[in-house]
């Protein structure tokens, strides 16, 4: 039926219902049956990931490499360790690798013409063997494998004929992929040659996992323990009692420096180079574990000893609903994924950043969102109609021009969600969150999410300094009372006027009017 091919080897491969799960050699075979069952109908990345992570418990260090590839409307890929996926879109290759990340890489891609999974040599002999073995067809099954190639992502129309590139592969006598150009380590023959390097990387990975796990442990212990307030500790950074860090942020201990600096240089090494307390008191010391060259650096995903900085294309997450949902998974493990801390991505709300946009897709603001802000403002997931109008991803036809939408969802600059008219006559495009008040201000927002401030006159004092916010959350405009002294009254067609509770948030609908007091009102039009 499908043109999925596999190459025998030591890895465990489970293929069912459009999902492929790869488990490293040596993974507990007991995991296979529950996974197989869980793939029976409509498997989700979250479900599979939960199944895998639960079975490994919370010890990240003990988690072997794995891979999840799920074809739905997009190709969802989750890879950890020596698992690399190469997806082919026309002539373009997209490579996703689980290497060099502390947890796993997650991507969603447009459905490719084909993809190949290369599994790193876990064991020399097996890998060498894998390189010599021909590609074999694979239906829904559990197999031992060293590579997997899929030509058609469950597209019924083309199931009958294997894609030409796959046939070429077979004709070429077992070479995995024939796509021209510098395909990274996909050539099976290259794997054997890479073994020495891979061994190094494995060590590096282990060090990375260990470092990561310390932070993660600290986080978990934070959930279990309160802070050790009554810990006896020396003033001014003397030797500190063992201390369990409470927070997931990397931290560094200034007292350590004070101590060093107040001494002569020759005594400068002990606290830096060797963790003195068993609990690895601070991240500075944590990093001491990972090698003398990184004595000062707190644990990070991107400064593990020999590893290059994690490319954003690997670490970044496409913040589509599935991915967001995934990062919110409640297993405690997820909070610590590196992309939560990369400046580029990972906030629950739309933020600026080099989002992982499908290659070749325009990232520019669509025609209708000619905001006055640079294109670095908040972005949302949208599908563009043929005329370039941004639409919510679930729309199948354009809300503006009615043309059918066939493109993949992508991140675009926040499109205008409508207009806000003020009693002053001013009209403001809703392409940015707004804070309205007598002397509006904004407190403590993470970078990129700064609302625009709209000052209104309120000499009588009925209008608070920051009175009300119009917050754009994806495709919704939400009216938020900012605990204004005299409150905000919402007038909505067909309903009694209603005073918002302090801090209340109400999704706005077209035609809503908000009264702030002293004759100042806001009306919302063009909302969809």
């Amino acid at each position: 039926m499908t043109s999925t091919l596999y190459r025998p080897g030591p890895w465990l491969g489970i293929k069912r219902s459009g999902a492929v799960v790869i488990l490293a050699p040596g993974t507990d075979p007991g995991l296979v049956t529950p996974l197989w069952e869980s793939l029976a109908d409509a498997p989700s990345v979250d479900g599979i990931l939960n199944e895998i992570t639960h079975s490994f418990g919370t010890a990240l260090t003990a988690m072997p490499p794995f891979g999840i590839v799920l074809c739905t409307d997009r190709l969802h890929v989750v890879l950890r360790g020596e698992v690399t996926l190469t997806a082919l879109h026309g002539d373009e290759e997209t490579v996703v690798s689980g290497r060099d990340v502390s947890t796993w890489s997650e991507r969603t891609l447009p459905l490719p013409d084909g993809y190949e999974l290369s599994l790193g040599g876990y064991d020399d002999g097996e890998s060498a063997l894998g390189a010599r073995v021909a590609w074999l067809p694979l239906g829904d099954a559990v197999v031992l494998l060293s590579g997997l190639a899929d030509g058609t992502p469950l597209d019924e129309t083309s199931l009958d004929e294997a894609p030409p590139w796959a046939e070429d592969d077979e004709a070429a006598g077992g070479s995995a992929v024939t796509h021209e150009g510098p395909g990274p380590e996909e050539e099976p023959d290259a794997e054997a040659g890479d073994l020495a390097m891979e061994a190094d990387e494995t060590e590096a990975d282990e060090a990375a996992y260990a470092t990561f796990a310390q932070a993660a442990d600290a986080e978990w212990s934070a959930e279990l323990d309160g802070p050790d307030e009554d810990e006896p500790s020396a003033e001014q950074g003397g030797a500190q009692a063992p201390y369990e860090p409470e927070f997931d942020e990397p931290e560094f201990d200034e007292p350590e420096f004070e101590e060093l600096e107040s001494r002569e240089p020759e005594s400068g090494e002990p606290e830096f180079q060797a963790p003195e307390s068993a609990g690895a008191d601070s991240a500075w010391q944590d990093s001491g574990d990972s090698g003398p060259g990184h004595a000062v650096a707190p644990m990070t995903a991107d400064d593990m000893p020999p590893l290059p900085p994690t490319p954003p294309t690997v670490a970044a997450v496409v913040p589509d609903p599935a991915a967001v949902q995934h990062t919110d998974a409640d297993d405690g493990l997820i909070d610590a994924v590196p992309w939560r801390h990369t400046p580029a991505a990972g906030m629950a709300q739309p933020i600026v950043g080099p989002f992982d946009v499908p290659q070749g897709a325009p990232v520019d603001a669509p025609a209708e969102s000619a905001g006055s802000r640079p294109p670095t403002g908040p972005s949302v997931l949208a599908r563009l109609c043929p005329q370039g109008h941004a639409n919510p991803p679930q729309h199948s036809s354009c809300a503006l021009c009615g043309l059918p939408i066939t493109t993949e969802a992508q991140q675009v600059a926040q499109p205008s969600l409508g207009r806000m008219h003020l009693s002053t006559g001013e009209v403001i495009d809703l392409d940015h969150s707004l804070v309205i008040g007598r002397h509006p201000s904004v407190s403590r927002v993470p970078g990129g999410a700064m609302p625009r401030l709209v000052q209104v006159e309120g000499p009588g004092g009925d209008i608070s300094r920051s009175h009300v916010e119009v917050r754009l959350e994806g495709w919704d405009a939400v009216l938020v009372d900012l605990e204004a002294t005299n409150g905000t009254v919402l007038l909505r067609e067909g309903q009694e006027p209603r005073r918002l509770d302090p801090g209340e948030e109400v999704p706005l609908v077209d035609g809503d009017v908000a009264e702030l007091g002293e004759g100042v009102w806001l009306s919302f039009e063009g909302l969809r």
Binding site: G226, P227, E229, E231, S233, A234, G237, Q240, Y243, E246, F247, E249, P250, E251, F252, E254, P255, F257, L260, E261, S262, P265, G268, F272, S282, A283, H294, A295, V296, A297, P298, M299, T300, A301, D302, D303, P338, H341, T342, P343, V352, P374, T376, G377, H439, S441, V442, S443, R444, V445, P446, G447, G448, A449, M450, P451, R452, L453, V454, Q455
Partner: protein, 266 residues
Amino acid sequence: MSGSPPGQRPAMTFTVGHGTDRGLLREVNEDAHIAADPVFAVADGMGGHEAGEVASHECIAVLGRQPVLAAGNRNATTADLRRALQEADQRIRDVADARAGTTLSGAVLVEEDGIPYWLVFNVGDSRTYRLSRGVFEQISVDHSEVQEMVDAGYITAREALVHPRRNVVTRALGTGNDTEADYWLVPVEHGDRLLVCSDGLSGEVTDDHMHRTLTTVGNPQEAADSLIRAALHSGGRDNVTVIVVDAAAAPQQDPVQDAPLGGHHD
């Protein structure tokens, strides 16, 4: 130091005083600062063997050469600052090999619809305060362990002042994987006074003392000097850096329509 272009409100003029001191115990001053309209910021470097000094100075140097922060410019956005801070972060990593980091706190003068605002930013535990209409408040929120304990309700703000972990920063530029700044946007009003300082001040001098000094010492340079002296008197255990910026509606502009203070002058 310079006037802002006239908008729909009276133009503001800004006067700044600033200073830094190595302190009584440190051998090196790892603080750095910039006080050049429109940007006022303090960086407190950390890292052994003078690497902290490199980190804080690199950070300030990156800020200083941002075209959008050129003299008199009021157009900087959060996105601009964010890019600048990312550049600073990378620059520090390049020169210090992640062995050093720096805090950064301060404010950039910006205008929206002709209205001046302080775009306040913070990474780490240096601080930005504002004295406005007699109310003295800390705008920035530290990225520190004790601040998180305070937020979580484990300890009080007073206990945080003497907590043994009070110097542990949870975010910084140049090291660690959490380098994102927080931002605030607060309107600039006539008579406002902004204070930016390193923890060499806030760790030695109480908020009450700062408030009193800022209220009683009219000249911003004298206020900054006085605060530095106070930090040294109370121990001077750390480098101390202070910037004081006064905002005043320019007196000879069009009639003050909306003067919040009715002509209060120090």
